[in-house]
Amino acid sequence: MSKLKLATVWLDGCSGCHMSFLDMDERLIELAELVDVVYSPIVDTKEFPDKVDIALVEGAVASVDDEKKIRKIRAHSKLLIAMGDCAITGNVPSMRNPMGPEAILDRAYIENASAQPQIPCVVVPKLLQVVRPIHEFVKVDVFLPGCPPSADTFHIALTALLTGAPLDIPALTRFGA
């Protein structure tokens, strides 16, 4: 049997979900027997592949670039898993929503700048007015809440999804876990 193609993506999050994923430690070796990691911040592929079986997405949609990415990921993935609270609720990145992106940019790049105050406008993608969870943009198949979901949660959930075993996510994790 050929291995399933797994992708992991990092949108507007802190990378904590990826760290927790790596905290599966030696269980990653078992996992590597079932899947090939074809795209991830920890592998050197630049473009999201055409056909992915499972995509794990960390982070909220906060910029025009995030929005473009999540639509592409959805179009090329069979199973899309929202990984962690940022992807599911907006979480910490969404705390700017009541104020709006202009206020945040001003605070970071003008008010608190000690030299050459200016808001970056080239290379970096434009921020969306409101940070939103990924399911407000595309269909999400599995929601794995937690900040971050624990390594055990990842292990149990991925094993169940790969083997077709029953999966009771609320028994494993919750918002803020």
């Binding site: 907006g90 705390m95 969870p133 407000e136 809440p145 996510i169 609320p170 803020g176």
Partner: protein
């Protein structure tokens, strides 16, 4: 009518039970170890039916009734956990999560929050409604406690604890509908209000809306169990 306690017989989830006249469905269920989820209800306070988590189905009626307020009647048939009720409870929780800024991961009540725990218990893994992200204030003017309106679910436990138990009635609700907000006195700073700094409201608050300044991070369990005890002691006097 005689002085004898009038007994009603009813059925809850297929179990034949007896109850005293005037008892609520919730009381009878709890006496018989039948679980009905609650959020604004707290033993020791009056009930207001604000959160609608305890809605139950009564045979012969299309209306769903809050178990904390609906009293028993003879031959009543109650269902507490139908698919329809589960669906409504999840939607209510989603509405609560979407209404204000409940960012569990950075909340002082993370791990000790009744809203968060109910979300998990009722199988909530995401909120289907768009988040409203309202701009809400934090009042830290009280020397001991803080109120963060982003976490408030308007259960009014604080209002009732202050009015009914402490007897001061500092807290009340201002505005209507989505604009409702908890205020101290006539919408003054908590720190300069008539608050006695007893802290009962903080202990009964189910979320991180009211918290003790001396607690750090998420190490903030609440202990509302003193209420029925306090009431019992007062009745004994």
């Amino acid at each position: 009518m005689s002085d004898a306690v009038e007994v009603k017989t009813l059925v809850i989830d297929g179990r034949e039970l007896s109850a005293r006249r005037g008892q609520t469905i919730l009381e009878v269920a709890q006496e018989n170890n039948i679980y009905i989820p609650t959020l604004c209800h707290l033993e020791g306070l009056s009930d207001v039916g604000a959160c609608r988590m305890c809605l139950v189905e009564i045979k012969g009626s299309n209306k769903l009734l809050p178990a904390c307020l609906a009293t028993v009647f003879e031959s009543m048939e109650v269902s507490t956990n139908t698919e329809r009720l589960q669906k409504h409870r999840r939607t209510i929780l989603e509405l609560l999560f979407a209404e204000r800024n409940h960012i569990c991961s950075v909340c002082v009540a993370n791990g000790h929050c009744e809203l968060q725990a109910l979300g998990q218990e009722q199988g909530l893994t995401h909120v289907r409604l768009p988040y409203r992200n309202p701009e809400l204030t934090v009042d830290a003017s009280n020397e001991r406690f803080t109120i963060d309106h982003s976490r408030c679910i308007l259960c009014t436990r604080c209002v009732r604890a202050c009015a009914e138990i402490e007897g001061v009635h500092v807290w009340d609700v201002m505005g209507r509908g989505i604009n409702s907000i908890i205020i101290s006195d006539l919408h003054e700073d908590w720190g300069t209000s008539s608050c006695t700094r007893c802290g009962k409201c903080v202990q009964v608050c189910p979320t991180g809306a009211l918290f003790d300044k001396s607690k750090i991070g998420s190490d903030h369990p609440k202990y509302p169990d003193f209420l029925p005890y306090l009431n019992l002691m007062r009745e004994a006097q």
